[in-house]
Amino acid sequence: MRMPRSLQQRLALSLGLLLTVLWLGAASLTAVRARQSIEEVFDSALQETAQRILPLAVAEVLGRDETDPTQRLAEIRDHDEFLTYAVRDARGRLLLLSHDADPAIFPPWRGAGFSQSATHRFYSEEALQGSVRLTVAEPLAHRTAMGRELQMWLGLPLLIVLPVALGAIVLAVRASLAPLRRFREGLAVRGARDLSRVPVDDLPAEVAPVAETVNGLLARLAAAFEAERSFAANAAHELRTPLAGAIAQAQRLQAEARDAAAQARAADIEATLKRLTRLSERLMQLARAEGGRLRLDHPSDLRMVARILTDELSRLAGAGRLALTVPAAPVMSDLDPDVFAILLRNLVENALRHGAPDAPVEIALTPEGGLSVANEGPVVPREVLSHLVARFERAGASSDGSGLGLAIVQAIAQRLDVALVLQSPRPGQTTGFAASLALPLSPGDPAEG
């Protein structure tokens, strides 16, 4: 037999089977032993009865005429005769019969002692050198009924108690395994990004090491994520700082150089360094989008990020170029704020680059986590639209990585399992371009955090 995979079922089944077998064994043994004892008691009673009757029978037989036929004793009071007896002489003639006795059941004489026919148990005893032979008969049906009753009373509780016992086993097993089940459910309901420790306190000693191992694993995972995050941040810092230094020095060179040609050269260096910076920023963003951790185990308010970023991009684009709409209530999401910033920055820079310069880029964040960036401008043909998210596909020509923008957004959207929707003309209008996507929101109270 194959054991079920469930530990609970396995325990209940094996305990139940074991209990049933043991109980049945014990009951059978008891039944056999009790049956033997009953047989002994009955036999003893049979023997005792015969030995008590024999002297009376002898006196009776001796005291009467030799030619008298068989005498059947009269019934003193009406009753069912349980034990019957017959008194015979040495030749087998019946001398005396108890009132209910059936002469046919008595077997031919085979000496004193116990004997048995198909229906009766006999005890025979003789006196006066065999001239008076007494045989007491007891119907076997009685003993069999007794035995069956005994077995029934031994078996009947089994029928009632065993299911109760099995039920109790199941309940006990379930209760014992409840911490395990809670542990499993706790693991099942936790978010995919929740790397906090699993509580170990109420777990049975056998399972606690498993939980400890899980916790160890979670801790290593969290450390690996954190290391990856800080490595990315450090690498970006290592790359960015010398570029920033070189750009600043090129600007100082322009400010300090007296010679117009030298100033122009410094300006060229500065422009090249800035292009290199933009390209490397984009590649770092793409690496982050494709490899890094996108969601944190704690939520933050996306409105704050949207405001900061709109402020920063407005400095570069000029006041009035960006219009941000956010809801009054916090928009809480476990999306990494830096990843959200990458999304928004790329969408806005794309809109600024390709949109009409005289109309503001409209950024909207809805309470449901919808982010849309829309700009005025000519309609983008459908076939171009579908190619926009391909890497290094550019609507305009530049070598500073600007074509990566939508590809970065698309990479993040795919890993978040949401769709990046590009529309042109923008919804409800005949011109323009709009990009939108639905960001994952944190469940729970949106006002906290």
Binding site: R240, T241, G245, Q251, R252, A255, V305, I308, D336, D338
Partner: protein, 219 residues
């Protein structure tokens, strides 16, 4: 203004320092947080430029320590492009403004000016004082409609007076605002700059309180 620059990169730090000095401010440049802690403990700075990633720790705890001590000195943080979370954390920790690396030095100068004006109580960069029209953001000044050219030191000195109208400023305080602590200052430098300012903008602009210092004259 006396400015503390906390930046560990030598190339970037040198360019920033030269830019600020070029604007006429005095700069103390440190490359580590422990040196920064020592500096803010000994000198009353007008502004701190704080990089967030330093060899001996992150800049944000330094900012928190500064604010926890009740220091209201304006702080501009220098942050990376993709670390918006750092920027939010920095602003929440009490930073007044931020610059995203790599930044234009002109942008840096403008931010320093704007933060300083906000702290001076008058965020408007356009000031009229008597017959002077001063645009602090553009660093232009007109006297009776005629543009006047000032050197960086003269601008810094004028800004120091405009930031604290009517307040008495000692010669030592003015030296602090114009020169870093390792600079050699001639004993009569302040007097020289003040006499040049009076020559260009009118002798009533700055009033001498003999033996005590100077203050901005009534308009």
């Amino acid at each position: 203004m006396r400015i503390l620059l906390i930046e560990d990169d030598a190339v970037l730090g040198a360019a920033v320092r030269d830019q600020i000095v070029g604007d006429g401010h005095s700069v103390d440049w440190v490359q580590r947080l422990d040196a920064a802690d020592a500096a803010v403990a000994s000198v009353p700075y007008d502004l701190v430029l704080l990089d967030l990633m330093l060899p001996d720790g992150r800049g944000i705890p330094f900012l928190r320590r500064l604010r926890a001590r009740g220091e209201a000195t304006p702080v501009i943080i220098l942050t990376a492009l993709d670390q918006v979370s750092d920027r939010i954390e920095g602003l929440n920790a009490g930073a007044d403004d931020y610059l995203v690396k790599p930044f234009d030095l002109a942008e840096l100068s403008a931010r320093i000016g704007s933060v300083a004006r906000r702290y001076g109580g008058n965020p408007n960069p356009l000031i009229t004082h008597g017959d002077l029209q001063i645009d602090l953001a553009a660093r232009s000044i007109c006297r009776g409609g005629q543009p006047v050219a000032l050197t960086a030191r003269e601008w810094a000195l004028l800004e120091a007076f405009l930031a604290r109208p009517g307040q008495l400023l000692s010669k030592a305080q003015l030296e602090d605002k114009l020169y870093a602590f390792d600079a050699e200052v001639e004993s009569n430098t302040i007097e020289v700059h003040i006499s040049r300012l009076r020559k260009k903008l009118g002798s009533a602009l700055i009033v001498t309180e003999r033996g005590l210092g100077y203050r901005l004259g009534q308009a």
